[in-house]
Subunit: 358 residues, 2 copies
């Protein structure tokens, strides 16, 4: 650890990752939001010898009673802030160097005040190295999250028909995911109908009409892991141009996801999508990233036009080509992918053409 025997995790995804297993079977329900100021991991001889949680007042009780094999520092109304308590603890431990995943100005100042000689080093190797390579426990979490997302998307599209709105379909899809065990919604859902605007869409409350193109993107947290997917469809037969757009985006997904093998270059995967759109004049309408990382939050790798990246075994990432053509419609297909030894594994199971209401 770059010569440091103490690592301080201030970011919730890293805290969840490092607490998992020993201290609690599902730390996401204890460290419930970004309200845990810091968790200190003290290493001796390559092992974590001591874990100290500085929970902040909002989750102090929960951490004290539910986390095991670690010290939870009390935090009540009359106590110093969790950051100040961390600073004093570090001062008493008197290490030469402490490693942080992130270090806010206020925390840095608190420490400098009481322990100015400690060298503070920032290196988020937990996100970029440890959490990037998914282990068995991660895969269990990712698969469960993908399963809940599948259920939500199938439920949403089973309600897509003329006369209802995307908002209606999203409502029942979200309900299905929450009922299936998701703890909270990860983001405002995106949907598009009519001319299929990216992200915003037309008013999601507009009623779907025969011949509309529809896409729905929903994300959800399940035991701390992100479940995230998108499907697109035409309500009714649609025009030849709409059919071409949908088929092309689906083909873009197939081509780009099939390239997600160990050692693949992100720019080349991205370019595959652009190359498919370009002959039709659609390259200007693929304006977003192809992939974001998957896991406990803020994950790598990212695959985008402006981002160079090599894929590794153990990566988990979305694959979500889209195309949004003014006056014609918009489509996006998004699956969750795990990069295994022998290539991409689709964690998302819903067919690429979802079943619509009959």
């Amino acid at each position: 650890m770059r010569g440091a025997e103490i690592f301080v995790a201030t970011q919730r995804p890293n805290q969840l990752y490092l607490l998992a297993g020993a201290q609690h079977e599902d730390p996401s329900c204890v460290i419930s939001r970004g309200t845990c100021a810091a968790i200190l991991f003290h290493h001796r001889g390559g092992e974590v010898a001591e874990t100290v949680v500085f929970p902040g007042i909002w989750i102090s009780n929960a951490c004290r009673d539910l986390l095991h094999d670690c010290e939870v520092v009390e935090n009540g109304l009359s106590d110093p802030t969790a950051e100040e308590q961390l600073a004093h603890r570090l001062a008493s431990m008197a290490p030469r160097r402490v490693l942080f995943d992130q270090l806010s100005d206020s925390l840095g100042q608190s420490i400098a005040k009481v322990a100015p000689s400690i060298e503070l080093v920032v290196d988020d190797f937990v996100t970029t190295l440890l959490r990037r390579c998914k282990d068995e426990a991660d895969l269990v979490g990712l698969k469960r999250a993908a399963q809940v997302a599948d259920l939500g998307m199938q439920t949403a599209f089973a309600n897509v028909r003329p006369g209802v709105s995307c908002a209606d379909a999203i409502a029942v899809g979200t309900a299905a995911m929450l009922a299936a065990g998701a703890e909270s919604v990860a983001m405002a859902p995106a949907s598009g109908i009519g001319t299929g605007y990216l992200d915003s869409g037309e008013d999601p409350r507009r009623r779907i009409e025969e011949g509309d193109m529809v896409f729905i993107d929903m994300g959800i947290w399940v035991h701390g892991y992100l479940g995230d997917m998108t499907r697109a469809a035409i309500v009714g037969t649609g025009s030849a141009e709409q059919q071409d757009l949908l088929a092309t985006v689906q083909e873009a997904y197939q081509r780009s996801s099939s390239l997600m093998v160990p050692g693949a270059r992100g720019e080349e995967i991205y370019q595959t999508v652009v190359d498919l759109y370009a002959p039709k004049g659609w390259a200007p309408y693929f304006v977003h990233h192809l992939s974001h990382g998957l896991g406990l939050g803020g994950d790598v790798p990212r695959v985008a036009a402006d981002h160079a990246e090599i894929l590794h075994v153990g990566d988990a990432l979305s694959c979500e080509p889209g195309c949004y053509i003014p006056g014609l419609g918009g489509a996006r297909v998004e699956n969750m992918i795990y990069v295994g030894d022998s290539g991409p594994v689709e964690l998302t199971k819903t067919p690429i053409d979802p079943e619509l209401a009959s």
Copy 2:
């Protein structure tokens, strides 16, 4: 406007507020997230003579087709960023001074590069002055949001009984709110059972048992406005101490909300709650604010221990005293309040004791 004839709104709540009415009946469905870089309002003779929207690529199409009585600057893949386009527009207009609600480093640098002589002033009077005093349209939005929140909370508590979890109850409550027209969930719901931890709660998936104290806090966006409320209850009869805790928190709500009249001092309202808890030794367990502002987001006024504030006619704010006692339980009651000429008006209509499953 502090000597400026141009005001630039970079914050979504302010953009929605200033666009409402003339340009779109419900701008929240067009400016769908925080993805609109800026909207420029050019004043002449006290009137807005020109409105220019710099939408960013994600919502460019939607803004172009759905916003009226304003100019929407094109934003495609090959265009400069919305911030750069704004900077060039300001350079061509050559004003002496421009007012911003917020000014990011990158936007400030973009403008300084092409128009170094323009004085850039930051003053978020839209949030602190204009949006603070609710008008008729705001009240319509707030009441609709409160109504949807009421429906969700009643639905959630109608499912609270031994054997189900808070997560189950929240799932059906959220579904009801989305089905009733909420566009998205505003925050991860908070709930507590058992020893009633603040915010985190025990695992929200733990099944409720006879004698548990339960509270549920859910927030939702409805046509851009926040709907937000909390209810607490005992499942079954509970102990005398639990009954006292619940009754005391409800009394704290009644006392503090009754003081929300024009001219009231926030510290005194907050202190009323503390004074009620203190004789029982519970003052250390009310660790959060009493009120946040309500409206399109990021609203004032705030009422908290560390915050001095005078209430005005037209204010809209939550009133949410809580108390979370280790080993006993937790309770929180939250209603949406409008400060009218003759005192507080409860926008939330659900009875303080919600109906539980029978």
